[in-house]
Amino acid sequence: MAATTTLSFHFPYRKLSSRSQFSLSSPSSRLKSYTVASRYNLCISTTATLSLLAFRSPNSPTFLAKATRNTQPMLPPFNVLITGSTKGIGYALAKEFLKAGDNVLICSRSDERVEAAVQSLRVEFGEQYVWGTKCDVRNAEDVKNLVSFAQEKLKYIDIWINNAGSNAYSYKPLVEASDEDLIEVVTTNTLGLMICCREAIKMMVDQPRGGHIFNIDGAGSDGRPTPRFAAYGATKRSVVHLTKSLQAELKMQDVKNVLVHNLSPGMVTTDLLMSGVNTKQAKFFINVLAEPAEVVAEYLVPNIRSIPANGSKKPTYIRFLTGLKAYSQIFSRLAFGARRNRYILED
């Protein structure tokens, strides 16, 4: 259930030579859309800002009181909660956090998988650091239970990673996609994540140590088209947008102790990505750009941990596969044939 793949599935690789700028998510490709809608959004956000004055008076005293009450610095070890973490990148992240000495709470839709994952992690890292429970993020009750489980076992959560994501393991044009797949993709990636974010913020606002929420993005989150997995791309785009809106919302409400970040693992060789290997282009980019979950987690976890450790109050966007990296990898492939047939046999 790990949400992976970033940006580059359908890289405009013919155009590479003509592009001199090395930032995958720079909005250059979206310049077009900066016309009307964005202006209109501008309007709406100004209205929203104005309305905030009205909003603040009834609502935020409670918030403020909570936020200013005896704050504590966030010191390691951290309590980490990762959704959808019995396999793929979620599992790799959990392992990496455990290696760094943190406490980890894992969850997923299936009881058996949680049980198995907890067992194997406990064998490796000891009894008292790993907890696990069943949680279907699409179900609000489950998420609430997850929060109470976390409060019961760990008292507080410092880092909440919204990793659960799905593409229903199907890669085909929207016309051929089935109802169940589409609904599963949207409800897991968007609805589930929204509910998780809401519950996480609700929980963390009351915590003296505050908290950090990380939302995992995926292909399409920079606004580039994702043919063959259109629904997935749309949901991932909405994830990034939700993060942005939440950051603005928390700023408006003067909530300083909860931060929402984006986390981009790039392309990871999990089931989610590998189920889509059926075109030549896909094979090419997976070979060139994808990395195993362990490699990605090794890079991401120190970066994630450095945020609370430094007491940073700025929302961040941590990327594994940066534009520079992606382009240089593609270049070395094209120039020297590096990484050919790395995971999958091409043609």
Partner: protein, 514 residues
């Protein structure tokens, strides 16, 4: 069709005076190569004229082919001009033993045709005479100054070209507007959806309205039928024949239920045969407040209506359109957040709309070679329940400036949705000129919809419609401007630049000392 007639004729009449003038004006031209034409000034002028002619001829040809296509599509409702004339002549000369009755009918037909031809010729003569009068006045005023004469000719030429282009565009649009479209609009029992449905209906289209509740669908269908009846009662001539094809039917459909959407598609095919335009308008917001204050049910409804609903409806529409003979167009509605900027207090709504914009890109790639067009329509800010629920007094003060009534927005969007071609078009209400206008006139707009206490000042829907029915006939300049493609304006602009360049260079040459 006046424009068409003009098109064919004026380049010939243009040829002579222009040649003369180029000879005169450029006789002493030291470097005509600057313009990228040949050395010879004669050649230059001739080429120039040819260029104009081909352009206009191309236009006319295109138009003709369009007309032909249109008439085929309309299942040959109107027999062509030439065929009818031919048949009459044949009847007259070949078959002498026809009954008087038929003969009289034929004569009436011919009379009608001849009178229409006479009207066209009359229009043409009037146009040419009036331009001639203007020209001669100009010459009188210039007093024989050759430079001034040249200037007048150029400006006349520019005017004629711009006029014909605008005229040709109008004729084109008129043809594109013809023929009933089959339209499906989701979430169309309230707000913008209803206004869109009404506008389509009054344009003579067949419309399917849907919403979650059967009662409101039935009520809306009834109301729209009333509107249609009124429209028929008030209309005359061509608009009456246009409206005779219009109809409205409805079915209950919850867009986030796959089975409902499939039923809607089947219903559309059964009722209309095929679908030209499918508008995914259903959307919900549930008020302005921080995410923490949204209940589970609220979030679920917003996501499933906006995102799941649009995806399912788009897929179903694509399935319907793939199996039909003619092209179809799908519109997804933009909203706050589509552009990617953050939408605090409507985080859920904003992120679903942002996701939809990305979906649009993916669909565009997936539908590249099919005849399904995927478009977005952005209504801007509309005074509907979606926007007003949970808005504060301060919000409403802002709404005064930038908001519009749903009918106004629908009036602008619908004509452009009806004539949309290709794929990946964005039809926006709040275009930069409109935003500029709104900001410039912000002071005047303060008490437009809401007063200081946030009470609504605008009329209820029924009253609005009554006033609006009279208003419909009025010509809106901004709408007319929007109708022309960007290319038209671009070519008008570049033509004027070319004219200015020619004038400047020709005047500059005769200056002493240069």
């Amino acid at each position: 069709m006046a424009a068409v007639v003009k098109l064919h004729v004026f380049p010939d009449s243009l040829n002579r005076p222009k040649t003369r003038f180029f000879r005169r004006g450029f006789g002493s031209c030291p470097s005509p190569g600057v313009l990228g034409f040949g050395h010879d000034c004669d050649r230059f002028s001739v080429r120039e004229c040819r260029a104009f002619r081909t352009e206009d001829g191309g236009d006319a040809k295109e138009k003709k082919s369009r007309n032909l296509k249109k008439s085929e599509v309309n299942s040959k409702r109107e027999s062509g001009f030439w065929s009818s004339l031919q048949s009459i002549l044949l009847r007259n000369f070949m078959v002498g033993s026809k009954s008087d009755d038929e003969y009289r009918q034929a004569v009436v037909k011919v009379e009608g045709l001849l009178s229409s031809i006479a009207i066209q010729i009359g229009r043409y003569i009037v146009t040419m005479m009036s331009t001639g009068v203007i020209l001669s006045i100009g010459f009188q005023m210039s007093g024989g100054d050759s430079q001034m004469d040249a200037l007048i000719w150029y400006s006349w030429l520019g005017g004629v070209i711009i006029g014909t282009m605008i005229g040709a565009n109008m004729v084109l649009e008129e043809h594109c507007r013809a023929g009933p479209r089959n339209v499906v609009i989701t979430g169309s029992t309230r707000g913008l959806g209803k206004a869109l449905a009404r506008e389509f209906l009054l344009s003579g289209d067949r419309v399917i309205v849907t919403s979650r509740s059967l009662e409101s669908v039935q009520a809306t269908v009834k109301e729209l039928e009333e509107n249609l009846k009124e429209g028929i009662a008030n209309s005359v001539g061509s608009s009456l024949t246009k409206l005779s094809h219009a109809k409205v039917v409805g079915i209950a459909c919850d867009v986030c239920e796959p089975h409902d959407v499939q039923r809607l598609a089947a219903f559309a095919v059964k009722e209309l045969g095929y679908v030209d335009i499918w508008i995914n308008n259903a959307g919900t917001n549930k008020g302005f407040r921080p995410l923490l204050q949204f209940s589970d049910e609220d979030i679920k409804q917003i996501v499933s209506t906006n995102l799941v609903g649009s995806i399912l409806c788009t897929r179903e529409a694509m399935r319907v359109m793939r199996n039909q003979a003619n092209a179809g167009h799908i519109f997804n509605m933009d909203g706050a957040g589509s552009g990617g900027s953050s939408t605090p207090l409507t985080a859920v709504y904003g992120s679903t709309k942002c996701g939809l914009r990305q979906l649009q890109g993916s669909l565009l790639k997936e539908c590249k070679r099919s005849k399904v067009g995927v478009h977005t329509a952005s209504p801007g800010m509309v005074l509907t329940d979606l926007l007003l629920s949970g808005s504060t007094v301060q919000n409403r003060q802002m709404f005064n400036i930038i908001c519009e009534l749903p009918e106004t927005v629908a009036r602008t969007l619908v004509p452009r949705m009806r004539v949309v071609k290709g794929t990946g078009k964005a039809i926006n209400y709040l275009t930069p000129p409109r935003i500029l206008l709104a900001l410039v006139t912000a002071w005047l707009r303060r008490g437009r919809w809401f007063d200081d206490q946030g009470r609504a000042l605008y009329a209820a829907e029924a009253d609005r419609l009554r006033n609006w029915a009279e208003d419909r006939a009025r010509f809106s300049f901004t709408d007319a401007m929007e109708m022309y493609t960007e290319n038209t304006w671009l070519s008008v602009f570049s033509l004027s630049v070319v004219c200015a360049f020619i004038i400047l260079s020709s005047t500059g040459n005769n200056m002493p000392g240069t």
